[in-house]
Amino acid sequence: MADQNSVDKTAASSRVPTVIADDVHIVYRVYGGNTGRGSATAALNRIIKRKPDAGVREVHAVKGVSFTAYRGQAIGLIGSNGSGKSTLLKAIAGLLPAERGKVYTDGQPSLLGVNAALMNDLTGEKNVMLGGLAMGMTREQIRERYQSIVDFSGINEKGDFITLPMRTYSSGMAARLRFSIAAAKDHDVLMIDEALATGDRSFQKRSEARIRELRKEAGTVFLVSHNNKSIRDTCDRVLWLERGELLMDGPTDEVVRAYEKETAR
């Protein structure tokens, strides 16, 4: 399958759906975000009066988004900060439950986030093992790919840093290692959240290349980015989200041009 996709880019036109979002709504509930009186007596009052919702604020992050993604497509998600892009990805990955509506997927989509939680007090070495196991790789698979993960991250270019705890890393180094761990696995439906924005220029180039590779192997790729150039380079279809609503869905050029026109003002 991987070969076929790499040889034939027009596989994008095959109409096998891999992800269907059907009127998806996502609501976050935030405790302590209430604008009313925040005193202890007020909180007690609310508990006594049995009004649990008073202390909770609801944030309607995604409001009724529907689309169908097909095998071989690389789909970009654009929109201003807080427009619900990352939230939508998490819902597709099944990590955040939808309030209303449903997401159907082919297999288990994987979210490639640079935020994947690793432990700062552990050495980079142990984090590679832990991160790999958390993604569902076996010990043998991780051992096999260990060297390539470390080499790719470039952590050891400045000395033997992989055996130091991650809290001693600079933020850029930590982000590079996280990306390298996450990118070590092959995925059916792959979702990438702002991954290209990490690290220095040479690492960005390497990670872009790796994402193109992953894209060849994966059925469908989603990419969240604020970098319109990387969206243009990697995606053939773009969804434009604004305030949790799907504003536009179409070919990359068309949507990105409209988005740039809107943001240029």
């Binding site: 070969d3 076929q4 040889v7 034939d8 027009t10 596989a11 036109s13 095959s14 109409r15 096998v16 759906p17 891999t18 992800v19 269907i20 979002a21 059907d22 009127d23 976050y28 509930r29 405790y31 529907s66 169908t68 998490k90 819902a91 597709i92 990955a93 099944g94 990590l95 955040l96 439950p97 449903k102 997401v103 159907y104 997927t105 082919d106 288990q108 989509p109 994987s110 979210l111 986030g113 935020n115 994947a116 939680a117 432990m119 007090d121 552990l122 142990k126 093992m129 832990l130 196991l133 958390a134 993604m135 569902g136 076996t138 010990r139 705890p165």
Partner: protein, 314 residues
């Protein structure tokens, strides 16, 4: 695999039906036609257990990592694994052994091992419950980033506490030998007791994890509950002796003796300490120990699984 025929087949479909026959098909039917599944749906109980088993290496690695990370900033490092329980036992000895003189019925050779066993065994359950409450709510980043059966988190926290207890048991054995309680056959009872208590603790951690993910306030409340529980479990004094002295009715003694923490503490003391005979154990003690382990272990697992798809919400 014939690449060419696959490709022509694909493009043929695209050409012959520019507006695909799938257009206008409701999402649910389209999904069904191509065999797509609802994302993030909760698997069946058996399938869930199987997925969990597949992640066993992650569970073990995560608990070990947490354990080493715990003291990695301290200068003494892993020495604290042993020093913490030792200091803990010393503080209780100072208060209950020296200041309040609770050892009058037993003599120091029995009382100190009695106290230290009680503290260590109870701490095992207490810390499992505390870690359970924060297992989901404190790891929301991980829950929202990666896909794995969520029960892996509370289970791995309970496992971390078990490893912590094993360090404490090492300290305990040194104390026991120091006070003249040498290894004997009954020490083998440690293993069934630990297995049962671990099952109980894991179930407790699972229940606490689900409750704590919905109601984070529980983390504030729990220390008070566990402290009350500790005083009611006869950690520092013999509960039975105290109640008998106060002429409490027989059923009160039996009910308090059936409390799971007391059951596991008593069994461990019975296994390890010479002067602590079967007469101090509540009736049907092994049945109680097994019952609590099964009830919480299985019940907690099912209870946690029921909300599996909700944990990402926080």
């Amino acid at each position: 695999m014939s690449t060419v025929s696959e490709t022509t087949h694909d493009s043929a479909v695209a050409l012959s039906a520019p507006p695909s026959p799938d257009d206008g098909l409701p999402a649910a039917e389209l999904a069904k036609k191509y065999g797509l599944a609802v994302s993030g749906a909760r698997p069946g109980l058996g399938e869930y257990a199987r997925q969990l088993w597949d992640r066993r290496h992650f569970i073990v690695a995560f608990s070990r990592a947490k354990l080493t990370a715990q003291y990695s900033k301290a200068k003494l490092g892993q020495v604290w694994q042993v020093a913490t329980p030792l200091l803990n036992a010393f503080v209780y000895f100072l208060i209950f052994g020296v200041l309040m003189d609770a050892k009058r019925d037993m003599g120091p050779d029995t009382y100190i091992p009695f106290l230290v066993t009680g503290v260590f065994v109870f701490t095992f359950t207490q810390t499992s419950a505390m870690a359970g409450v924060r297992a989901i709510s404190g790891n929301l980043g991980l829950v929202r980033a990666l896909h794995f059966p969520r029960a892996a988190l509370p289970i791995s926290f309970a496992l971390q506490q078990l490893q912590q207890l094993l360090y404490s048991m090492g300290v305990l054995i040194v104390i026991l030998v120091g006070f003249g309680h040498f290894p004997k056959l009954s020490w083998l009872l440690i293993f069934p007791t630990l297995v049962l208590q671990f099952a109980f603790n894991t179930g407790l951690a699972l229940i606490m994890a689900r409750a704590g993910s919905k109601t984070p306030d529980l983390a504030q409340l729990l220390p008070f509950i566990t402290r009350t529980w500790m005083y009611a479990s006869g950690v520092m004094y013999s509960m039975t002796d105290q109640l008998k002295r106060a002429h409490a009715p027989e059923w009160v003694i039996d009910v308090l003796g059936a409390n799971p923490a007391a059951v596991y503490i008593d069994l461990m003391r019975f296994a390890l300490i010479d002067g602590y005979g079967a007469d101090k154990l509540p009736p049907h003690v092994w049945a109680l120990a097994l019952g609590w382990a099964l009830l919480l272990g299985l019940g907690g697992f099912v209870y946690f699984w029921k909300a599996e798809e909700q944990y990402g919400r926080g």
